[in-house]
Symmetry: C2
Subunit: 351 residues, 2 copies
DNA sequence: TTGTACGCGTTATCAG
DNA sequence: CTGATAACGCGTACAA
């Protein structure tokens, strides 16, 4: 059996209280007894019982991070940054993959709540569904009642939830990107977005639309497809665009992975990027730089977002402003995947 | 204050034991009282206290995963797969980033031990240091004493530690890769490996060396550099090779990210890949396929490894064989970054 | 089927 | 500075 405080105390010839004091260093202990206790601790290979401590102290040293999927670099980078801050504060970061399922999101929030996590960070876009939002708001309330912080990173917290939000300028970034494409001369677009009813999807699509309308163009919804932000869905969408004979000179994707998939599909169909068709992404993941051709995209300060979210979660930073909102700006990154309008998709794709 | 079993029991007019039984469903409870308890549970928004339960039941529902860095796709994919299995078993996966530091590895093992984690999965290569190995072995022993499973994924467990190991055929894969380069006609190589004294680094370098020796070539250690498996270190190494005037026709990198960095550096120096110099990676991360040019590499079954490690960790699979070793095979992936020998690095790089 | 009562390993309060 | 001892919230023999 694992040794407990009682065992250590017996061996050192002191009370459990004294051992606890040595362990936590929050009360004075004479050097002599301290040495004896430390020796006993070492000899028995004593390891603190986390659950017992959490029960007695009514607080745990866990930090929950809810993501879509850690293997998606977008979330991997966020997770890594948050985990870094957590580790610095001697906290354990629990990563929960929801695979985009709103039910799993709720399930994991409950699981973290029951573990008495110090804080929960919800990353990425959220589902646009009043019912779901209400249930999330309810859970946030419970978190706060128990003294757990809740931080949103990539989407806005429900109104009057008192939770902090780190926000990306998705709409502005998307607007700038499409403006860039328009400036290059493009007029016929296809848009491959993320999952439906997702806040990130919506914001980016809105930015794209903003730019189109400002240029006096009518957004053609016929050339808009939904994916799930994965490379595979981008590939499928690329093939679908070809199949449908969509005649565009530029494909705007909801994120980089989708753009990568689209480019792979076009390549396979004999369409050259950017000579025949331009392709743009969003996020500026590391892979965007190494892709063929390098991806024109919008850079999001993911590492900074993660650091701020992490620091907010561990309580190192104070709640910002009265509205609890932190806006992070985006930056247009011009590379090689976008060029002047080419011959277009319909006339170059060989089915 | 958060409601406890006592509150629920009072409200439902039953004892705490009954509430506990309803919660766990491990003892018969009459439908009537069950309904009353469920109602009370709901009305009070009761949430189980995880630590208290863990203390009473002497077991927690946490699964620890130790990785170098989740934002590295290699580890992101492993983490995601393990987390998937954990989630399916209603367990929480705790991801710990060590950033390659052996001290952090030990620190996190202790932290997980103290949380009474059900199992710990150590991923990636390990440090080749008898002293460190001994301390790890010591911690593994403590884990086993407390009934926690330990699974290695990507490196071999210390001898007689009774821990299970999922292993990649790093050496065989590296051998096959270099054999391929030799078959293409290359004779002058540069090698950019991972961190020193790392089991993965060593195994891959050994495979490369095997192939060279088998072909009657003398490994030129002058053209071997160490990185840390990151893209940045690959970029630095690529620049350094140029600076040193290393005259090779092929650069073999210890992993894909390093290869990507090398390619970026060569590109920047005016060296074409693969026309002038060939570059090869290892791992076959998703990015290898989208890179420019697409990377010739060695595919490792990361998702499979993660699934097996996860299942072993949660106890869904039995300990394999008498030696506790599971070998996973690798596969040579030929793409565009390797071609016939070109003019070589020294004669094409413009400093 | 249900209730009582004790133990799980710590922390914290209160004496000494 | 140190030692008893009472929580902390839950699971579970044991008894009814």
């Amino acid at each position: 059996m694992a040794p407990t405080l009682v065992d250590v105390a017996a061996r050192a010839g002191v009370s459990t209280a004294t051992v606890s004091r040595v362990l936590n260093g929050n009360y004075p202990v004479s050097p002599g007894t301290k040495a004896r206790v430390l020796a006993a601790l070492h000899e028995l290979d004593y390891v603190v019982n986390g659950p017992a401590r959490a029960l007695a102290a009514a607080s745990s040293d866990m930090l929950g991070v809810i993501v879509n999927d850690v293997s998606d670099p977008f979330f991997g980078i966020l997770s890594s940054g948050i985990q870094w801050e957590a580790g610095g504060a001697e906290l354990l970061a629990v990563i929960c993959n929801t695979a985009g399922s709103p039910e799993d999101e709720l399930k994991y929030m409950q699981l973290l709540l029951r573990q008495r996590a110090r804080a929960i960070v919800l990353t990425g876009g959220g589902r646009e569904d009043p019912d779901h939002a209400e249930r999330v708001a309810q859970l946030i309330r419970q978190c706060h009642e128990r003294g757990a912080r809740v931080v949103f990173c990539g989407r806005q917290a429900p109104p009057d939830s008192e939770a902090v939000s780190i926000l990306f300028d998705n709409r502005g970034g998307a607007r700038a990107l499409t403006r860039h494409l328009l400036a290059m001369g493009h007029r016929r677009f296809a848009y491959v977005s993320g999952p439906e009813a997702n806040t990130t999807t919506t914001a980016r699509a809105a930015g794209h639309r903003d730019a189109l309308l400002a240029a006096g163009l009518e957004p053609e919804d016929g050339a808009a497809l939904h994916g799930d932000f994965s490379r595979a869905s981008g590939f499928a969408a690329g093939m679908e665009l070809v199949r449908r004979g969509v005649d565009c000179t530029a494909v705007v994707a909801g994120n980089d992975l989708t753009a990568l998939g689209v480019m792979a599909a076009l390549r396979e169909q004999g369409v050259r990027v950017p000579e025949d068709v331009s392709v743009a992404g969003f996020d500026d993941l590391p892979v965007a730089m190494d892709a063929a051709p390098a991806l024109s995209t919008v850079r999001l300060p993911l590492r900074e977002a993660a650091a701020r979210a992490g620091r907010l979660a561990i309580g190192a930073d104070d709640m910002p402003g009265p509205d609890g909102l932190v806006w992070l700006s985006s930056e247009l990154i011009v590379r090689e995947s976008v060029g002047p309008p080419g011959r277009g998709l319909a006339s170059t794709a060989r089915l």
